[in-house]
């Protein structure tokens, strides 16, 4: 296999404590090695005047599966005048907010990413999700099945049956080839089936007689019972509602007293995704009624050590919102009067999709932008704060480099507020005006790779250039010594000069030259025989599911032709 030596670049690797030093980086047989361990035949990449990091790791994006595909189908206008013909090894791609799988892969490659986690997989439709992941070349991916409104989970947790919940989760991860536990609007999406919602963590789910708080705690306990690589991945109740930060604080505090178990090196038991949407004060979306509560949230997050989060920063674009939070999407469609899709997934979950325009000349969109940026700037521990746009919910995937520009440059933020019609009102209602912090490249490396890899339980593979880890290296054409224009940040980090993934060169001189060797990550968790759960599963399939148990699982080889299975033993 090929050997690579990346020379003369400014290297940023927080795991190794390398902060912009000129260090040679080497890859052999698909893994990182010491620079002295490659031979004279190694391909030398001259990274002089450029930035070198481990490849990026995305902890939360909606990039594959039925939701994304419905978005594509019902938004042909998302691809209007926006398709690129095939060229070299690249096939045709298209779409802004709901791109084709190929464009998703190329976008990640150009931004220097090597791994991405599909954030919400409806178990019943796992086969479709896997087919899309399989067809997304280059990047390694995994997917989180959703559990927070699943009938098994609601019934077991109502009686606090953690062992049964855990056995069911382990079974479902095997059936769906899933990576971990996603929890979306716990109880609220099921309540939506009754025309209701769970707006606080104490609202009782109709029929099931359980509260979101019980579901959240139960899923944390089941996650740690199993010792999964990742923790319970949380999208809380009352997303997007002014004044919701109190509910968010209550949600986060449910993690108190829990410690991570297992062998994967993570420190957290709860990951709160797209925290921006959950950090609102005030009581309305108007400039008089809205307030940022990022400080209140971050005061708490900074004070504990067992919580991680990602930002979900609004990019001020036209985009497509999509979530298993069915009632929220219904609410949204009534705010903007645009088209709306709603879907119910039998015993498991639901989903809604609505196009959305975050207009930079509206107060609320810029205020939302500010809240997300504030969270990242206030984070004391960059190893626990990850930069996302909840793509495509707060903004399209390809905007990551723009978000980094805002975080790395006060000048860029000031220019945006200057340009925005209600910039001053946003400064008044939010904390953005008080923050002059600029994220360093060292911190960026934590917030976009090292920290994410650790939180996913994958720090033994990704997030650093340490010898033994996967040979995933990116070179960005960004010179930290000379770059003074913030626009250079956006340009450079969206157009990687080199990407080596799994020891294969994917991007060469800014061009995609290989479709790589994509792997699908899933967690095979062994548990003790559980007759009760086995019985319940066959009963539910007989009574309620429209498919049989045999037609449910992601079993055939073609769904995951190149799997990477993480073995977990929860039998003891």
């Amino acid at each position: 296999m090929a050997e690579f030596l990346v020379k003369n670049g400014f290297v940023y690797d927080p795991v190794l404590g390398i902060n912009g030093d000129m260090v040679d980086v080497a890859v052999r047989n698909g893994k990182m090695v010491d620079a002295s361990d490659v031979g004279t035949n190694a391909t030398v990449i001259d990274a002089k005047g450029m930035t070198v990091m481990a490849a990026g790791v995305d902890i939360h994006a909606h990039i594959a599966g039925p939701k994304v595909n419905v978005g594509r189908n019902f938004r042909p206008e998302d691809k209007l005048f926006n398709a690129t013909p095939g060229k070299g090894v690249m096939r045709m791609g298209g779409g802004h907010s709901v791109p084709t799988v190929l464009r998703t892969a190329y976008t990640y490659a150009k931004m220097g990413y090597g791994f991405a986690l599909e954030a919400a997989m409806p178990p019943l439709l796992a086969r479709h999700t896997h087919e899309e992941m399989r067809d997304t070349p280059i990047i390694d991916e995994g997917a989180l099945p959703v559990f927070g409104n699943n009938w098994f989970v609601l019934e077991y947790l109502k009686n606090n049956e953690i062992e049964n919940t855990a056995a069911y989760i382990a079974w479902l991860l095997r059936m769906t080839k899933g990576f971990g536990i996603k929890n979306v609007n716990p109880g609220g999406t099921e309540a939506w089936g009754w025309g209701l919602n769970c707006e606080t963590i104490h609202d009782v789910v109709p029929y099931f007689d359980i509260t979101p708080a019980q579901i959240i705690k139960g899923l944390i306990e089941a996650n740690e019972y199993l010792g999964l690589p990742h923790c319970m991945h949380m999208h809380g109740n009352s997303l997007g509602q002014p004044g919701n930060y109190g509910i968010t604080l209550e949600t986060l505090k449910l993690a108190e007293g829990y410690k991570p178990k297992g062998d994967f090196g993570r420190d957290q038991v709860l990951h709160n995704t797209h925290l921006q949407f959950h950090s609102y004060g005030g009581e309305s979306y108007t400039s008089k009624g809205f307030a940022s509560a990022s400080k209140e949230i971050m005061n708490y997050v900074n004070s504990v050590d067992n919580i991680t989060f990602d930002t979900g920063i609004v990019t001020l674009d036209e985009t497509t919102t999509m979530t298993a939070d069915g009632p929220f999407e219904h609410h949204l469609s009534h705010m903007n009067n645009l088209k709306w899709v709603n879907s119910d997934v039998e015993l498991e979950t639901a989903a809604g999709i609505v196009p959305f325009i975050y207009g930079k000349n509206t107060f609320i969109a810029v205020a939302q932008w500010a809240v997300g940026v504030e969270l990242a700037l206030m984070a004391k521990d960059p190893m626990r704060c990850f930069i996302t746009t909840d793509a495509p919910n707060a903004g399209p995937l390809y905007r990551y480099p723009r978000v980094w520009k805002w975080l790395m440059s006060l000048k860029a933020r000031d220019a945006l507020l200057e340009d925005a019609k209600y910039g001053d009102k946003v400064r008044n209602a939010c904390y953005i005006g008080e923050l002059d912090k600029e994220i360093s490249l060292y911190e960026l490396a934590m917030m976009t790779r090292a920290g994410c890899a650790k939180a996913l339980g994958l720090s033994h593979m990704f997030g650093s250039l340490k010898p033994g880890l996967e040979g995933d290296v990116v070179v960005y054409p960004y010179n930290p010594e000379t770059a003074d224009d913030p626009e250079l940040i956006e340009q450079a980090f969206g157009n990687a000069h080199t990407l080596i993934k799994g020891g294969e060169q994917i991007v060469k001189d800014g061009e995609i030259v290989s479709n790589g060797n994509k792997r699908t990550f899933w967690v095979n968790c062994k548990t003790n025989e559980n007759a009760q759960v086995q019985h319940d599963i066959s009963e539910k399939f007989k009574k309620y599911y429209t498919v049989t148990e045999n037609n449910y699982g992601v079993s055939a080889h073609h769904y995951t032709p190149n799997p990477y299975v993480i073995e977990v033993d929860a039998t003891k």
Partner: protein
């Protein structure tokens, strides 16, 4: 105004996509440069010169440039697409998307246009001295931002789905129209001088539709308000004013709810 004349010399074996045929592209170019402009036939990229004899002169700017196409181009799509100024005259019929996303200038077709003509237009004039196909002045598939400005005038009949998601501008049809007129409209004005079939103003939020002839099946979501005397596109008469679509949301202006207005001539 400088005039460039195109004479079709070869009938394309597949439909030809020729969005380069507009004053914005021709302006300031020599005849050879114009002949070298690309057209697409299927996946093949060919040149304009292979399908048209080109003569005359282009102006310095789009506004100074007039393009005359003499002959049948009923298998050529995207004539005048996104044009912003100047003039195009087609002495014959065109295929789909004539004047689509047009922003200014004037496109005259002395013949018929096929579907999606004047699609999502924001300005300028599209004159069709013939019949129009379906989705005239409508929104692009999936989009909620339909025609926002300009004028479309068709002397003959229109097809179905005229002015879907219309938000501004004016569409005047001299003859009859098929189903779905002004569906989801949030503004703009549609005049049908002949008859309409059904689903006129379905899910209309705002805007005006005038029908001089009959509507075969009226939408149930419209309520009669009053009779009014009006002059519409040079024709005076008494109209029955209906408002709707009552099944749709409606904005309020100064406390008064705004409806879509459907005027039917007695």
């Amino acid at each position: 105004m400088a005039i460039i004349t195109l004479n079709p010399i070869q009938k394309p074996s597949l439909l030809l996509e020729a969005d380069n045929i507009k004053p914005d592209v021709f302006a300031g170019k020599s005849l050879d440069e114009i002949k070298a402009l690309h057209v697409f036939m299927g996946t093949d990229q060919l040149t304009l010169g292979e399908f048209f004899e080109v003569s005359g002169d282009s102006g310095a700017t789009a506004a100074d440039t007039k393009i005359v196409i003499d002959g049948d181009i009923s298998r050529v799509k995207y004539i005048g697409m996104k044009m912003t100024a100047g003039e195009v005259v087609v002495n014959g019929s065109t295929d789909m998307y004539a004047g689509a996303w047009m922003q200014g200038g004037k496109l005259t077709v002395n013949g018929d246009v096929d579907a999606f003509s004047g699609l999502a237009m924001t300005g300028g004039e599209l004159i069709v001295n013939g019949n129009a196909g379906n989705y005239l002045g409508a929104a692009y598939r999936g989009d909620w931002r339909g025609m926002r400005g300009g004028v479309i005038r068709v002397s003959g009949n229109g097809g179905s789905d005229i002015g879907t998601f219309m938000r501004g501008g004016e569409i005047i049809i001299g003859g009859d129209v098929d189903v779905h007129v002004g569906t989801h409209a949030e503004g703009g004005k549609i005049v049908v001088k002949g008859d309409a079939k059904s689903r006129v103003g379905g899910q209309m939020v705002k805007g005006e539709i005038y029908v001089f002839g009959d509507i075969e099946v009226m939408m149930p979501g419209y309520q009669y308000r009053k009779d009014v005397d009006l002059e519409v596109d040079g024709v005076s008469g008494r109209f029955a004013l209906y408002e709707g679509d009552m099944g749709e949301r409606h904005p309020k202006k100064k406390g008064v709810t705004i409806y879509g207005q459907l005027y039917m001539k007695y």
